[in-house]
């Protein structure tokens, strides 16, 4: 697969590229002149303090917010996202922090929610088989796909949410705080899954507060501070100290 090596400075056209993107809400300048590049097969971590603009940036990428100015290139072509469905059509999938799963429905039901096979006589068999194939390919540890989401642990739910976003064959997937509420083992499991997703040749953007997780899973780390870029680092060489400095503003990397 292209970019499977996950090299930080992957050559060739970036999958996603933002140039000078700004977003303001009335008098509040939430994002100012943001540059961001994501290549296929690459994991980019987005870090920053509360209010740094991470969530706003993700919402711009997901088509929830429209940027006030700047260019948005996807696959080298300029695009404008009128709404979340435009982003999905382009191949940008987002897993929000609240996961948005229906707890009363089973794993299969949730995976295929909104895109059920044969709407008038649901093809449960094929949906179940495809669910198993997908979960196996992610090495997900879910004992049975016929139990309601309510019975699953936090890590398993995260797994289902990620798997669901993959069903639409996206090219870029964004994860908002995927390890926020997870234990040690579950965190490791989800991080491993994020690597497997990128090995499939997808671009991955991960928002996280945990510097250890970031250095473990990401290829590059993009730091935001007060709505501006504050440095891009190679995740394999950067120290936690440098990252914290960039996040808090002790060091200026603009």
């Amino acid at each position: 697969m292209p970019g499977a090596s996950g090299a930080p400075s992957a050559t060739g056209e970036p999958l996603l590229s933002l140039r000078g993107v700004s977003k303001s809400f009335g008098a509040v300048q939430a994002l100012t002149d943001i540059d961001l590049e994501v290549h296929a097969g690459e994991v980019v971590a987005l870090v920053g303090d509360n209010g740094a603009g991470k969530s706003t940036l993700v919402k711009v990428l997901a088509g929830v917010h429209q940027p006030s100015s700047g260019t948005f290139l996807f696959d080298g072509r300029p695009v404008t996202l009128g709404g979340p469905s435009d982003a999905i059509d382009l191949g940008i999938a987002t897993v929000f922090q609240d996961l948005a799963l229906c707890e009363n429905l089973s794993v299969v039901d949730n995976l295929f929610l909104g895109r059920e096979l044969s709407p008038l006589a649901l093809d449960e068999t094929t949906m179940e088989v495809r669910s198993w194939e997908l979960l196996r390919s992610l090495s997900a540890k879910i004992p049975t796909v016929r139990i309601p989401i309510a019975s699953l642990s936090g890590g398993q739910r995260q797994t289902v949410a990620i798997a669901r976003s993959l069903l639409g064959d996206p090219r870029l997937i964004m994860l908002d705080e995927p390890t926020a509420a997870l234990g040690v083992a579950q965190t490791a499991e989800v991080l491993a899954m994020i690597r497997r997703v990128s090995e499939r040749g997808l671009g991955v953007v991960v928002i996280s507060h945990n510097m250890e997780d970031v250095r473990q899973v990401a290829d590059r780390v993009v730091v935001l501070r007060l709505g501006r870029n504050n440095g891009v680092f190679d995740a394999r060489t950067v120290t936690t100290q440098t990252l914290v400095g960039a996040i808090t503003g002790a060091e200026d990397h603009r």
Partner: protein
Amino acid sequence: MTTQTTQPALDRTDERLTGDAGARGLVRSSIRNIRDGDLGFLPVIIGLVIIAVIFQILNPVFLSSANLVNLALDSAAVGVISLGIVFVLLVGEIDLSVGSLSGFSAAIMAVLFVRHGVNLGLAVLIACLVACAIGLLYGVLLTKFGMPSFVASLAGLLAFLGLQLAILGSQGSINLPYDSGLVQFAQLAFLPAPVSYALAAVFALGFLLSRLDRRRRRARANLSTTPLSLLVVGTVLLLLALEFAFWYLNQARGVGWMVITFLVMVLVANYAITRTKWGRSLLAVGGNREAARRSGINVNGIYWSAFVLTALLACVGGLLSAGRLASANLSSGTGDVNLNAIAAAVIGGTSLFGGRGSAFSALLGTLVIGAIASGLTLLNLESSWRFVITGVVLAVAVGIDSLARRSRASHGRA
């Protein structure tokens, strides 16, 4: 069966799964489900048996064929209204006006048909269209104005009762001619005995064929399957139960077409809820509205369809009971009709909190409510006590539901 020993089914490979394969495993897992609070239809079936035993001891007429024929016919009309309630409950909303809506619809039909000489079919159609418009109104009030359906339908309850009284006028009662199709259908249309037995066989065969089809598909995809023996036993039991029930009713007047209509409506509703994308969307909206929206489900459309269906079925139920009484009057759809229809759905196991429920809950719940009403009437109890007892049964049913819900939560089930 032979291949399963060499290669486990695709969905049975996780070592944490305890062996639920085979007939014995199925029994074991059902016992575990019940212990964890996944009660299914068990409480309502036990409740029905208790009610039947008590009333039979108090008055031996209760379980007679003649009384059960009446019970079935009475239940069918309320059951249709209750089936509608299942749809709004599934999306986590409520329609408190189904009673007055049913009375209002009956009044519209009767006024058009009897006073204005409109063709019966057209009168029925107009009543249905008015009901659909009212359902759509509730849906729009909820989705566009954010008005809780609780309040909107409570307002509707009063308003449509008023309209019912207004169009019935000073006489307050319209008798439907006995030879009209509706009265004939609701009072006198019974299946000939052989047809009823054949129909019971068709139901059982349909059950078997659909299960066999599912089994074949799952086997082909290397998924675990229900043991064939269990399917056959289930089908035979279903067949015997249906044949016996129909035979018993045939000892008196027989199986009413109205009853069959209700049963078929329940089956169709069950298919729509469990086997179509629309039904899945209903459950999703009731479970987590925001998740449903983000999955690309047209949430507003789902709400509207649920409210429209509820209102339409309330109308149909109202027309059927008008036919059964051969009249539409001031008391049509008033009194306990509202509460009975809602209570039936809840007693049958459809959750008031949305996202959980089944079309069969309307059937079973209506039988409970109908059995209590019929038993108390046989005992010559005043309606005051009927209200009290029905109220207590509803409280017990919701109490069991809430307890089971808590138990499910603590055992990690939805």
